[in-house]
Symmetry: C3
Subunit: 319 residues, 3 copies
């Protein structure tokens, strides 16, 4: 099978991962997003591009925040949105994932936005739709297990391009629990594809996966070294469930070694920007002085995220 | 009181049960549905027939799947939809069912889609609206206890008519847990009204209710006998909670006696169709080879279900 | 800081409490609501005043009924509505209230409808939006702790004005658990501002807060005395959790002393109206004969409530 994300005309058919997506496609998404940033600023925040289309938010794992961003993006494109918390429904009645998918496709769905705790679930769904010739339905991965979170990766690319203009001379550091982070994985693939010459991963050895060097990433366990002269810092959320596990001593201990403080931020370039996918743990991975400081672009990330999702959805709907 | 489902002009006012609905009304619903099948195929899947109408999905019993079909049907008719899970709300504050209904009616609701674990709840609501002269609100039964599931019955009639053209020379078998099935009850009333000459019920004696013969149904406990030369097979879902009860030995045992396998299907007419209301228990009531086979029309049922619900809603809204 | 509810032109910017709102503003809301009462009666119950605006229902405390009224009001104004049950989402991920707010504001929200168990939460949110210069987002308090429920207060004013024409010669009694009631507090502020000469509070001493006399309210512990010759009776809901506490002996005991029976109602003026914010406890604070009687205006309150919410929302959106 060729890249299941592209149709035979090379257009985006599904968005599952940034891994393997050509730079031209990423650039086209970012350019399309730029045209949508203005829509959310208007008096009437709506364009009719997806009028009469049916978007299903299939959240097998609960995430109000991510679901909300897709719901807003859909509504601003004039689509009809149906929210489904699948954990609470058919899954409990023993129906298989693919039966649920076939059922919803038979309702003439146009798009599935899929969040799932299992890595690979959105790919499985897209592959099934291709195999069963149900090409009218497009899949967007809204986060699957530790695998990928491509729209988060894309909004991070958008934010970096917005503030740094181009990717070709940047050093970008990703800090924290790289091991469990689908955001980190999507960011690494996006940054590499866009031509960022130096991507760094910073974290305790227990939270760094193997294979980073092979992906072209420089690994640091010492944060002060890792932040030296970087242009962009992407902080990752430390999941609560890790804090009391065997992988980490404690939240306070973590903050001491890997929390982003004003002092540490001073090691980066003076115009470095600070990003975070949210929700933040203030005082765990990031100091409030940094989160609310002049270099933080965390809220613009959210704003751009709506435009990026509108771009992906409208491109898929038009494919 | 005359038939509470029809207004004084003989038009559909509420849809509570197929029992007692004239053939002319059923036929009109199916014909109207036929005109909506095309809408879901269009680029813009929307007609403005219910623009500015307020539809309330009142689900006293959770059912994401059924709620979704009504939500899509409403949105494709351009209605505004409000989803209410009543179990989690006022009911817990001790408010009576009819106070809740009066309240929502006072918000100028146009339609209540009611799902309730208690048989008779939608009838009670419709009767109350008639008694209190609140005729602007229409009730659709989306499944009540063991009593009725009329839109499922109607979509089954639609599917049968679609594949078999007319009802007048068919043998239809309904297989499984007839005793607890509101689908079976609505199907039997629909098939009888539409003039199907032979309706069969097949199942273990413990899952067959009394009185089937009086409804004109032929009863079989042996599946091989019951399937002989039938045109249509309607498989019922075996509810998990029955499988470990006193009524049934085990899921495996059930499959051995009443699961629809390719071998058993071969006993029916060569062009027999296989239906199922979903969600399916593969390997319990139906073999995957049959569920995914050429004679299964289970996914078309879902597609037709949207059109049938659009037909019922638009007819009620116009009454 | 000046009154945070008004902008520098003296227009309504946020609706947090009726306390301190000028009579001219209250009157303008009621007049605007009057123009919306007709909209819900029309064939197409929709006006395009908030087309393309994004309204977020932020319910930190569950209330299906109140959420529903705001959802309908939004949809009839053609706004896009996003429902968020925050208790179940980011709050559980440890994100702070104001980070959640900033995040949603960054999605270009236009309005937050906030329900919160903590008194003061909507004020805190409005103040934060002012302090951080995010004036494009408007806050409506949909009930906070024991503090205020201003849209309920306004719909009560609307109902009284509708039936009694003007406020200047009325005696209004509020009966029940005044201590824990945000409705009572908003009603007292509204009635006082609108110029009602006599407001009475009736209830057991344990459910009457201190300071009522200073607010200009006459206090009665004997219901028969308190109801004498009143024009309007506002019954409050007795919360279940109070009924078995130290504050009250039992529901039956409460009904005997403070339940509104036909006999007690006869003590009021013959044309007195009976109001209740719902949901009612029939047989606890109100007899069914009164709730369903000719003097009850409880369902018209619900109808007017939609119009009042449409008025507040459209005024805020235009400010």
């Amino acid at each position: 099978m060729h890249n299941p994300q592209l149709n035979k005309h090379g257009e985006l058919q599904h968005l599952i991962t940034l891994d393997g997506l050509p730079k031209a496609i990423l650039t086209r998404i970012l350019d399309t997003a730029a045209s949508f940033v203005g829509v959310s600023d208007r008096e009437v925040k709506k364009v009719p591009l997806m009028r009469g289309k049916s978007v299903f938010n299939l959240f097998f794992e609960n995430s109000t925040r991510t679901r909300t961003t897709f719901e807003i993006a859909s509504k601003r494109l004039s689509a009809d949105v149906i929210n489904l918390n699948i954990s609470a429904s058919s899954a409990s009645k023993g129906e298989s994932l693919l039966d649920t998918i076939d059922n919803l496709a038979a309702m003439h769905a146009d798009m599935f936005v899929v969040r799932h705790a299992q890595s690979g679930a959105p790919y499985l769904i897209a592959k099934h739709l291709i195999d069963t010739n149900q090409q009218h339905v497009h899949v967007i991965n809204a986060g699957d297990g530790r695998h990928a979170h491509p729209t988060q990766g894309l909004l991070d690319m958008y934010t970096i391009r917005h503030y740094k203009k181009n990717f070709s001379n940047l050093t970008v550091a990703i800090v924290g629990d790289i091991l469990h982070s689908r955001v980190a994985r999507s960011d690494i693939h996006g940054l590499t594809t866009m031509g960022v010459p130096e991507v760094r991963a910073i974290g305790p050895r227990t939270l760094l996966p193997g294979g980073l060097e092979q992906m072209g990433v420089r690994v640091f366990t010492d944060m002060n070294e890792g932040l030296k002269d970087v242009d962009v810092i992407i902080m990752l959320r430390l999941q609560n469930e890790r804090m009391t596990g065997a992988l980490l001593p404690s939240a306070q201990e973590y903050f001491k070694s890997y929390g982003l403080t004003p002092e540490r931020l001073a090691l980066a370039k003076p115009d470095a920007i600070v990003m975070h996918p949210g929700p933040m743990n203030r005082g765990v991975e990031i100091d409030s002085a940094v989160a609310d400081g002049a270099q933080a672009v965390i809220l613009p990330q959210v704003t751009f995220g709506i435009a990026v999702r509108m771009a992906v959805m409208s491109m898929l709907a038009g494919a």
